[in-house]
């Protein structure tokens, strides 16, 4: 035991923290925990039980979904391994189809969307000054659907005919091919799994909306809520309004697959385009369900580590809703190449470009927030800054894609793959890591090893760009997506992308080691090691069972980093 402790401690302390970049070192990671009862109320067994405490459920979500992230990442490693050479020589073509299908499905429905739900679960009640979520039992049920649904999905690798192979969109008629003829096949398992995850999401949506509308502390008006809560509210409203469309799509698909109906079979007078409309009516807002909380995370972290209030708080709050509303009206840009009539293409080209406006409001607000700030380049800040910068790139390629003449050429090529990975990985996953590092001390009561955090950041930042940047020239030169073999002219960029991908795989190792090691042996922290604003920092680390000794009364605006009225903030300025 003592040897293990020595090794872990050695690892944590191996990389010293360079104090030079911390101007005046105002954020002290203080260790005044002795004057507090810092013994956590929970023991590890609770994390494996049906707990109704939103903090336990939040951690359960985050750890479970991180495991699915690693699994989805493993699938990606195999894909990148295949794409090192132009020939299809590593895996069977059918297996390759299954790999990219499950990679996408796992990353979207078992990593980002439920991780966001977990983070929101942990933070929202604390941020609004509530004791728990509105419906704690429903909350627990919603979580416990996730592991079986995920295991069910992954089990499809073992059935006859293999996993679903029609991509994470599962378009008919290709998704209706059932060569083995059995009713239990990869595709039907995919549908059932996604259905279960959708039910979990609807439960979460009802819970979050009710919590945010009904359970804010006295004085916590809507325009005093942290931006993270605004983005969660917007994202969950999107879930409630748009998920039903996906439910309809996959129910109809299931009927076609299993009961012999003909909704989507062209040879029987069915219409596969209806599936595409129903699918994308949800799946476009889904990307904002994923992105909005990430934007919320940036809005929490950038002010804290530049010691400036968030610029344009009210505009950013309204923009969070604006993005949600506009995103409901853009879905047809995924159907530009599906024989959509020209008038419809024009309409949705305009609406898709419009969504850049509230998004731009946020990016400008973040830029103005760090402008002239006193930057503290701790790990969460590095991930946040890196995420915002890469988001500008990914957002621009998105606006390029919204133009019909451009999209016609690059649709279904690697350009699109590059664009969305710059969003889901280089923005959203970066934001998720930023959030994990930022709130790790609050959740665990311990501080992570800052040096290893920086190593993780640099490996991730380099890997992220190496992997996904090459996809843009590949797409422009005509390499299509979802293929295991390609024209030899594309090999150069593919090798760079694959090496970047393997680097990303390796980059998770210092992260996991840091998290586990710090959880066990990290230095104890005070209530507010980052001297951040927000109600979650006014209670102990970790918070007590009912979050606050006494429900707080709120009488100041959010992000009051420059406020002279708050002595603590003034002290940490110099």
């Amino acid at each position: 035991m003592i040897q293990v402790k020595l090794i872990v401690n050695g690892f944590l302390k191996l990389l010293p923290v360079n104090k030079k970049y911390m101007t005046n070192n105002p954020i002290q990671i203080t260790d005044d925990s002795e004057d507090r009862n810092s013994k956590p109320d929970t023991n590890w067994r609770e994390y494996f039980s049906f707990s109704t405490d939103h903090k336990v459920i939040g951690v359960q979500y985050m750890v479970t979904t991180f495991i699915f992230f690693l699994i989805g990442g493993l699938l990606a490693m195999i894909i990148r391994g295949e794409l090192l050479t132009p020939e299809s020589d590593l895996v069977d073509r059918s297996l390759y189809n299954g790999l990219f299908t499950l990679h996408g499905t796992v990353m979207i429905f078992l990593w980002i969307i439920p991780f966001n739900a977990g983070l929101a679960n942990y933070l929202v009640p604390l941020m609004i000054g509530a004791k728990d979520m509105a419906f704690p039992v429903l909350n627990a049920i919603a979580f416990w659907i996730i592991p079986p649904a995920g295991i069910l999905l992954l089990s499809s690798f073992l059935v006859q005919g293999g996993p679903a192979q029609a991509g994470w969109w599962s378009y008919p008629p290709i998704s209706l091919q059932n060569p083995t003829g059995y009713p239990i096949n990869g595709e039907s398992i995919w549908i059932l799994s996604v259905m279960l995850l959708g039910i979990s999401s609807i439960m979460g949506g009802v819970n979050f909306i009710t919590t945010i509308v009904w359970m804010r502390a006295p004085g916590m008006t809507f325009f005093r809520m942290p931006i993270f809560v605004w983005t969660v509210l917007s994202a969950q409203l999107l879930q409630l309004i748009c998920l039903p469309s996906l439910t309809g799509a996959i129910v109809l698909l299931f009927f076609d697959l299993t009961f012999g109906t003909n909704f989507f079979k062209p040879l029987e007078n069915g219409d596969p385009i209806i599936y595409q409309h129903l699918f994308w009516f949800y799946s476009h807002p889904a990307v904002y369900v994923m992105a909005l909380p990430a934007f919320g995370i940036f809005s929490e972290i950038l002010p804290a580590f530049s010691r400036n209030p968030l610029f344009g708080y009210r505009s950013v709050a309204i923009a969070s809703f604006g993005i949600g509303v506009v995103s409901i009206f853009v879905w047809v840009h995924h159907l530009f190449a599906s024989a959509t009539p020209n008038w419809m293409r024009m309409l949705f080209m305009v609406s898709s470009m419009l969504v850049g406006v509230p998004t731009g409001v946020k990016v400008f607000a973040w830029t103005a927030t760090v402008w002239n700030g006193r930057l503290h380049l701790f790990t969460p800040m590095l991930f946040a800054l890196g995420g915002v910068v890469m988001f500008v790139f990914g957002g621009i390629t998105g606006i390029m894609l919204s133009s019909v003449p451009f999209d016609i050429h690059v649709n279904n090529t690697y350009f699109v793959v590059g664009h969305f990975h710059y969003i889901v990985h280089n923005t959203i996953t970066m934001a998720i890591f930023a959030a994990i590092y930022f709130w790790f001390p609050k959740i665990t009561g311990k501080m992570y090893a800052e040096g290893w955090g920086k190593v993780h950041f640099f490996l991730t930042f380099i890997g992220a760009n190496l992997t996904f940047f090459p996809m843009h020239p590949l797409g422009l030169h005509g390499m299509v997506r979802r293929v295991s073999s390609y024209d030899p002219q594309f090999q150069g960029w593919n090798i760079i992308a694959s090496l970047g991908g393997f680097l990303l795989g390796i980059s998770t190792l210092p992260f996991i080691a840091n998290m586990v090691g710090s959880l066990l042996l990290g230095k104890k922290v005070s209530d507010n090691p980052w001297h951040a604003t927000g109600l979650e920092w006014k209670t102990s680390s970790p918070p007590p069972r009912e979050n606050f000794e006494e429900i707080p009364v709120v009488n100041e605006p959010p992000y009051h980093y420059n406020s002279k009225a708050i002595p603590e903030a003034a002290v940490t300025q110099e």
Binding site: A130, A134, F135, I202, G205, V206, N207, I209, T210, V213, W214, M215, R216, A217, P218, G219, M220, T221, F222, F223, L240, I241, L243, P244, S245, T247, G248, A249, V251, L252, F255, F259, G260, T261, N262, F263, E268, N269, G270, D271, I274, L278, F281, I551, V553, V554, N555, P557
Partner: protein
């Protein structure tokens, strides 16, 4: 505990005053001010309402599919089939289902006035009307000359009526659960959130039927 909700940095739109100007029955669903939820009934009904709005959109996606397929496909009907008939039987079943909404509302009102016996009878009557509707639907299904796999019309018809029927069944089970709960002495003395939720769910089932009925039976080509 003091409840200071408005300060200088607040928006001119006063959410509280807006809520207070709404009718009483609507106010039940909305919170007033940034207060803690002591009112579990209000919080619960808000949650159930939000859920039912979302569930309605699932039916909307089915209705959209039905409308889109029907408008764009000239060979909508399978050969030799005329489609579901708007018979007196169907009209009677519709009347029964829609009236049952009034019955369940009367049941909830009786419960609010603590008339448990009346509540039980009215709720049981509602379940009975719901069971009648389901049985009648089954009879109608057995008398049809097309199946689920018979063309686009067959598929959409059984899909729509089938999922609606499942929701009717769920409503009946909820009502029976509420009736059985009323036998626990003093159960509904302070609050009856479950009954209110069940009533709302039954109204939702009715609204869906009205739309479905119009689209499937009233829409003649």
């Amino acid at each position: 505990m003091p409840n200071p909700t408005h300060h200088i940095d607040e928006s001119p739109i006063r959410f509280d005053r807006l809520v207070q100007s709404l009718p009483n029955w609507l106010q039940r669903f909305l919170p007033i001010g940034g207060g803690i939820a002591h009112d579990h009934h209000g919080k619960g009904m808000f949650g159930v309402t939000v859920f039912l709005l979302s569930e309605s959109l699932v039916f909307l996606s089915f209705f959209f599919t039905y409308i889109a397929l029907r408008l764009t496909h000239p060979n909508w009907l399978p050969p030799g089939v005329k489609g579901p008939e708007l018979s007196q039987f169907i009209i009677f079943n519709t009347v029964v289902l829609l009236s049952s909404s009034f019955v369940i509302q009367a049941a909830e009102n009786a419960l609010k006035r603590h008339k448990i016996i009346k509540f039980r009878w009215l709720l049981a009557l509602t379940s009975g009307m719901g069971i009648y509707f389901l049985v009648a639907q089954a009879i109608e299904w057995s008398n049809l000359n097309f199946r689920l796999t018979d063309g686009l019309m067959g598929g959409t018809f059984y899909l729509l009526t089938g999922f609606h029927g499942l929701h009717v069944l769920a409503g009946i089970l909820l009502q029976l659960l509420m009736v059985s709960r009323s036998f626990i002495r003093g159960n509904y003395n302070s609050s009856h959130f479950g009954v209110s939720a069940t009533t709302l769910f039954w109204h939702f089932v009715d609204v869906i039927w009205v739309v479905l009925f119009s689209l499937v039976y009233l829409w003649r080509t």
